[in-house]
Amino acid sequence: MNKSEDMSRKKKYNLTLRDFNTDRKPTWCPGCGNYGIWKSLKKAFVNLNLEPHEILIVYGAGCAGNSANFIKTYAFHALHGRALPVATGAKLANHKLNVLVMGGDGDGTSTGLNHFIHTCRRNINITYLLHNNRIFGLTSGHASPTSARGLKTKSTPSGVIEEPLNPVLLALAAGASFVAKGYAGDPLYLSEIIKKAIKHKGFSFLDILQPCVTFNKQENYEFYRNKIYRLDEIQDYDISDLNDAINRSLEEERIPVGVFYKVDRPVYEDNLKQIERKPLVDQIIADIDINKLLNRYY
């Protein structure tokens, strides 16, 4: 039997949100944006009719990464900043898996930024949800690369003096084929975007505005409610136009959510003849004949 066997079987029953709960209760602060993301994600899985064992989520380290304990799927709780390469390796080993990555803005745009940019250009078919609270939450409130200029934190008592990184713009510049933004305070809509991201063939990046009620008190639900608007309500917005997407990503006064950009580009693993017929994990390795290979060395 194939090792990726179980995934193709017929579903046994109708899934509910509860099927994706573990025995551990979330430990986030009351009111944390992570609750909204948690819910949206489970809802997306249910809607897509995916079972827990068909999904692998790789988590970074941080409050966002702590989700690993609260969502029931195959999970790899990676080192801080290293979720994307772990996910890439796993996807290449078994491209039949639905692979997602969840991590914080510190995880993804500080230590892990190199992997973020390269995964964009690589266009491997995984979905990356960036929990962007614009702060290092778990370390108890340090500036993040996405923190606003002037933000005072324990490490920047006179305020941040660097330009914040713009993850959506960076993903676009790095060649990502699906770039979107969501908001943890609107879980229903967020869930829809997550679904689109998962369904996209290629690397899908979703920047999620996530209030951290404990350490980034300015950018609370109030703050976002007044700034957010939906891109799909803009009449002639063209999600296949890179320039449009870039321009929207540069907006500062108001914040667009929804899909900024989506294009069909060759998917990394589709270009690999090695796995055209079956995933690596299903290939038999018991008795590989290297006679012909040895011939090279005469």
Binding site: A75, P85, A87, A90, K273
Partner: protein
Amino acid sequence: MKVSNISWKIGGKAGDGIITAGLIFSKMFARKGYFVVDCNEYPSLIRGGHSSYTVRIGSGEVFSISKDINILVALDEETVRIHQEEVLYGGYIVCDDDSFDITDFRKERKDINYIPVPFSRIISELKVPEIGKNSISLGASAALLNYDIEALKEVITYVFSEKSPKTVELNVKLSELGYKYIKEKLKLSAYELEIVKPVNKILVTGNDAVFLGAVRAGCKFYAAYPVTPSSSILHSFASVENDFNIITKQAEDDIAVINMVLGASYAGVRAMAATSGGGFSLMNEGIGSAAMTETPVVIVLCQRPAPATGMPTWTEQGDLLFACHASHGEFPRVIMAPGDPEECFYLTGRAFDLADRYQIPVVIMLDKYLSENHFSYNKFDFKNITVNRGKLITSSSDINREYNRYADTDNGISPRTIPGVRGGVYIANSDEHDQYGYSDENSRNRKIMVDKRFKKMKKLIEEIPPPRIYGLPDAEITIWSWGSCKGPVIEAMNILNQKEKKVNFIHFTYLYPFDSEIVSGIIKESNKNIIVENNKTSQLSKIIMMNTGYKIKNKILKYSGRQFLPEEIASGVEKIE
């Protein structure tokens, strides 16, 4: 003169085709059944700088190149300047006396036969590129050894066929010209090798052998970031992607490499990475992640002189203590250091089994010398590498109850599922975790999990083979060494034994875990014990002392970026007496 072995060296500038020439020379003997060892030295530059390639050929087994050169082919003046002193009494130097003046050199070494071959004239008459000199010199060398020119032409054809038929033709012709020049013009033959049984031998480097072992062991995912001297493993893997359905990924950095390998292994395939010291330093955190999540990984560490960027194209054994203690925290691992390509091949197979069966990281240590130099073998018996994936659950029918990935079993090894298997869902958690994988900071749990991981050590130590003893059982002098020093030490032991010294040799291929009892048992305090290492601080002797308390006081150490020559070791031993 009939001889049982000869040493040949070619030297010139990087870019002169020295490596190709050396490899062809090696192959033309290996293919006829001779024993061949070679060694290739070049600077960390793309062009310019001095390069050399030494080949030692024996009708009986040879384990290392040696100090004395029978025939030196000098494509430029610098080669004579640097290497003339290595030429044996009565030896030969092939060079083009049109290109540079050899009068002074002759004065220095009246014993040497200078064989002028007009490389430049031939090249300019035929209007072919300068690099053609190497083929002329190969022909000349074959003639000096009274060797069958057909054997040479065959290898030239084989090697250049990758390029174009025209290149093949040209180089065959050049080699013939070199051959004829010696045979007809100079009517000379320098040495003749004793005849051997004609078997077609393979010629492989340590890197080749690791690669072959990994392919045989079913490695399906290979990631790397290019770095000397590990790169040839990357090239080999990339070249067979489609023949063996292996994914080879050049990642954005070494951190991505180790984490991709982790991901692939977690998802169920055998996965490997190779690097040198700098990349290994960057992988430290990832190695700990493998340990904490109990994900098998195999890492090849091809050492080079360090710290930092160091000397990228040279050799040293400087990373042993680092590898044994790499990454923060405490966890079981295996560190192995094969002594020659054959051991590289078999140990790589073992590395995958140990990683899988114990769910731990395994590091295979080579160095530039072993990674890039060739040894000849009658074929590897690849049937010796079988595949044991340990407690891997790939089907939901094998999961009974609530699945606890990190179950605290008797030997610390817990069955692991792979993503996709229904009912086997768990967290591979880089946080400390409970038996299900959930993050857990409880003191009792912490102790249980640390103990669980370390329980593996018991069986591991038992099954790891002890250091191998070469030579006389009743020796009076014992040489201790590890990894790539094997060849030079065996040769040195033979030299010494011929001088009626009673020498034997204890060679470590497994450095961690360390069986203190067994090693304590083989120490003969009454012997003269001598350590030989290609480093400054004698790291193996520290490991021996740290595990047995026994201090090996006599040390022969080299840390010039070059591997030992057997003669250096032999005379080092004699000096200690």
